[in-house]
């Protein structure tokens, strides 16, 4: 393991960003989100939950797919995909890192999504173990270890140092490039912190939340439950929960026309929106209850059914914090029998 003093972090950021675009939590206008490092950037490695998750770096909120030139009856397709250059995403928490795995299960299965794939392969991921926890956290419900995430490199921070461990070849290479900036470390600050965080986690309100009732539940029975009506009554259909969620993957494909041609792009979409499934022939989900049910059935039942039991929620707690109506997946899990108290 290596370390660098917190006082020298800007040197570390500069050194990494000299070779790669460096994407990490920065504060802008009072909000902390992943953004590119530049000198003077207010890096907030300490923040647990960025407003939006880092999924943007592999699955951007909007992304050009291709361009077309149209002349009379003729069409030409222009491939806009660039050869993705290596980049570094730093500060990824264990939950958000696990969310990449959920997205992989969507975009990296046949037929491969090459837009996602090229970025995923170009990305060097530095995860950041949690040195504290928040009330809205429940990653352990999904078997995630907040104090020991993987990725190409794992870092831990305490009040003095950032501790650095390379996990992969990519990570080793990056470590080498940083040379003397990182110095050898052999103490047990990391182990001590891990034990402390685990202790605090155990006292969190959501520490004993379980999804057992979904694992053993019957899809039709859960779908037809009358609990959804009450659970969803206050939902505004604003889509906030889906936009902040690190695992939500729904997208729309749209086009815009300019003087030089047509650009086809994709952008995040939300199953919470009322026109998501609307067709001329009808609307399979006419009520917000149905849309609300879709979101959570997908995360807790449909997705696991198709992915060897893996849930499409990582317990990041963003929807818990951000829903304007105080609705969230925790309420759903509890209502269907997930224990609250150990």
């Amino acid at each position: 393991m290596k370390k660098i003093s917190l006082a020298n972090l800007n040197e570390l950021y500069s050194a990494i960003s000299a070779n790669y675009p460096l994407y990490l939590p920065v504060e802008r206008a009072g909000e902390v989100n992943y953004g590119y490092y530049e000198e003077g950037a207010k890096v907030r490695l300490d923040v647990l939950k960025t407003v939006k998750s880092p999924k943007d770096c592999f699955f951007p909120q909007t992304e050009d797919l291709m361009k077309f030139k149209v002349e009379g009856q003729k069409i030409e397709i222009i491939d806009v995909r660039e050869h993705a250059k290596p980049f570094v995403v730093m500060g990824v928490r264990a939950c958000d890192f696990k969310a990449f795995d959920v997205l992989d299960r969507v975009f990296l299965v046949d037929p491969l999504d090459t837009y996602y794939q090229t970025k995923r392969e170009a990305g060097i991921v530095i995860t950041h173990a949690c040195g504290k926890v928040e009330e809205s956290c429940f990653c352990k419900t999904f078997g995630i270890d907040p104090v020991n995430p993987l990725g190409d490199v794992t870092v831990w921070t305490d009040s003095e140092n950032l501790y650095w461990r390379a996990n992969t070849e990519k990570g080793e290479a990056l470590t080498k490039e940083l040379g003397d900036l990182l110095v050898e470390y052999q103490g047990n600050a990391v182990e001590e912190q891990q034990a402390k965080v685990n202790e605090i986690y155990a006292k969190l309100p959501l520490a004993s939340l379980t999804t057992e009732s979904f694992k053993n539940g019957d899809m039709m029975e859960l779908f037809n439950s009358d609990k959804w009506q009450k659970l969803s009554e206050a939902c505004l259909g604003c889509g906030t929960c889906t936009f902040v969620c690190p695992t939500c993957q729904c997208f729309d494909i749209r086009e815009f026309v300019t003087n030089s041609g047509v650009t086809r792009f994709r952008c995040w979409d939300s199953c919470m929106f009322n026109d998501f499934t609307k067709t001329a022939g009808g609307q399979p989900r006419t009520t917000q209850m149905q849309r609300y049910r879709q979101r959570f059935m997908h995360k807790l039942v449909y997705f696991p059914q198709n992915n060897e039991g893996a849930y499409s929620c990582v317990g990041c707690g963003r929807c818990v914090k951000k829903c304007p109506q105080g609705l969230n997946i925790v309420k759903v899990i509890k209502e269907f029998g997930g224990k609250q108290d150990a």
Binding site: L65, M66, F68, V70, Q73, K74, I75, E76, I77, D79, V106, F107, D110, P111, L112, D113, T114, Y115, M219, M220, F223, N224, Q249, C250, F251, D252, I253, R254, E255, V257, G261, V262, R264, R266, D269, C271, F276, T277, K278, T279, A280, G281, G282, P284, R285, Q290, Q294, M297, H298, V301, Y302, F303, Q305, N306
Partner: protein, 276 residues
């Protein structure tokens, strides 16, 4: 899948456009090399677009046994289809696909007597199966086709039905329209009622496609006549964007209609939430 770059289409050319009804046209499509743009199986679909308007998914209505081109029957009902209805032969379009799970023509359907029941544009996917059966006639038993539309002018592929299907050995074709109309001496009445009156033996394997309301009543009729659910197939139509299980738009329960369907057996639909 014909290309790995799943979202990137190929360019194809519309070589012929035939007006079927006041709002349906059939488009013949080939690749830039003049050959079939891709191989498919009956029931599969392809995503078509004219850049600037957007994409829409259409059933491939021609049979895979047609080695020269693919065809789509398209109903004018919105942005993409309005533009498609305004184009002339020679127009290039973008195509990607084929997508979806086809009808089990090489397995379950083999050796069976087949009953096709379609309403309006719902004939499009069934025509692919019907012509596949005609071109592999020895592999299948008797065929009954019940097809209806609002009026005689709304029946698609009427020429092919009259001149080819009706002459096929062991084919019985029953046409119907919703209301009386001059110069129509065929049957008048809704598809579900007519299908029931015809009392086709319940040993046939039934394939339904049409508006949801038609499916609902036809299905009820078939079950009453003792058809088993495992012998009834239909196709679902939901809003789609990607066509291969990634955009998250077209699921019914844990199934994506674009990749796990659009063809479903009734026993499969029974195990899915009623949300389509």
């Amino acid at each position: 899948m014909h290309n790995v770059e799943a979202l990137i289409p190929i360019i194809a050319v519309v070589t012929d456009i035939k007006r079927e009804t006041p709002d349906v046209k059939t488009f013949r499509v080939v690749g830039l090399d003049g050959k079939k743009p891709f191989e498919h199986m009956p029931g599969q679909c392809a995503m078509i677009s004219i850049p600037g308007i957007g994409e829409a998914l259409f059933s491939i209505t021609s049979s895979p046994t047609n080695k020269e081109y693919v065809e789509f029957s398209i109903k004018k009902c919105g942005c993409v289809t309005d533009v498609l209805h305004a184009i002339e032969p020679g127009q290039q379009i973008t195509v990607r696909g084929p997508y979806g799970r086809p009808f089990p023509v090489e397995t379950v359907f083999k050796g069976k007597d087949l009953l096709f029941i379609a309403g309006g544009i719902g004939l499009a996917p069934l025509r692919s199966v019907i012509n596949y059966v005609r071109d592999n006639r020895d592999n299948y038993g008797k065929v009954a086709i019940v097809y209806g539309a609002r009026s005689a002018d709304d029946l698609v592929q009427l020429k092919e039905i009259e001149e080819e299907w009706k002459k096929e050995k062991d084919f019985s074709v029953y046409l119907t329209i919703d209301r009386e109309q001059e110069k129509w001496d065929g049957h008048v009445g809704f598809v579900p009622t007519y299908a029931k009156e015809l009392a086709i033996p319940n040993t046939y394997t039934a394939v339904l496609c049409g508006p949801p309301i038609m499916i609902k009543f036809t299905l009820a009729g078939l079950l009453e006549q003792g058809f088993e659910k495992k012998n009834i197939y239909t196709t679902l139509e939901l809003r789609m964007k990607c066509g291969f299980g990634k955009c998250g738009r077209c699921n019914v329960g844990d199934k994506y209609v674009c990749k796990d369907g659009p063809v479903f057996c009734m026993t499969e639909l029974d195990e899915l939430p009623d949300e389509y």
